[in-house]
């Protein structure tokens, strides 16, 4: 089963969350990244995510596998958008179910941190003043 996925269109958070509902799990933590209207002082119009799809899928899956091995959780999922997004669109969603909240929070944080730092996805922001650039953080 795939726990990490890329989506080129709006995805259904309710369904993703529903897949994690489990009678054994008392705690559920989730994180969502939305497209903001500004970044480092510039007005943002929208953005584009591009991925090296094959490697992003395998590396994302590896992150989820690591989370399941490191933390006492029941299950986890992550979905990342690719393509063109507008202000307010959902860019990434992480959900984790666990018996207790410590593990749920820790695993959720681990997954978003690792996805942001390791999975080959790139963001190009469109600014209101027209100039767009690919973000390659130091």
């Amino acid at each position: 089963m795939k726990r990490f996925s890329l989506s080129d269109r709006t995805f259904d958070v309710v369904a993703m969350r529903g897949a994690l509902l489990d009678a054994h799990a008392g705690a559920f933590a989730s994180f969502e990244g939305w497209v903001r209207d500004h970044n480092e002082g510039r007005s943002v119009d929208g953005l584009r995510y591009e991925a090296y799809v094959a490697l992003a899928e395998s590396e994302g899956e590896r992150v989820l596998d690591e989370a399941l091995a490191r933390f006492d959780i029941v299950d986890a999922r992550c979905m990342h958008r690719i393509g063109d997004l507008a202000i307010g669109d959902l860019a990434v969603w992480v959900g984790v179910s666990a018996a207790h909240r410590d593990a749920a929070f820790a695993a959720c944080r681990y997954i978003i941190d690792e996805v942001k730092s390791r999975v080959p996805i790139w963001k190009q922001e469109r600014y209101v003043d027209g100039v767009a650039g690919w973000l390659h953080p130091e």
């Binding site: 995510y49 094959a54 490697l55 590396e59 730092s117 999975v119 996805i121 790139w122 690919w134 953080p137």
Partner: protein
């Protein structure tokens, strides 16, 4: 000469002007291959800011070129 297919993403693709290209090279490893292509396309990213993958899996810069393989240079990621 070894023939590989090179994939470019994000700012590397913009600089190269193509998303992929067939390359024949005598480079002894992937780091040397990047050096050649950096010169050809004027990439500003230095090798120490990139990672490299072959055939969809992360690889080492010291790996040699394999005939017919797919090589991808991975600029610093910015998902999430």
């Amino acid at each position: 000469m070894t023939r590989v297919n090179v994939l470019y993403f994000a700012s590397l693709r913009d600089a190269a002007g193509v998303a992929s290209e067939a390359v024949e090279s005598d480079a002894t490893d992937l780091q040397a291959l990047y050096g050649e292509l950096r010169t050809r396309h004027g990439f500003t990213l230095l090798v120490d800011r990139l990672r490299v993958a072959t055939d969809g899996a992360f690889a080492r810069w010291s790996d040699g070129l394999r005939e017919g393989s797919e090589v991808a240079f991975i600029p610093p990621v910015s998902g999430g």
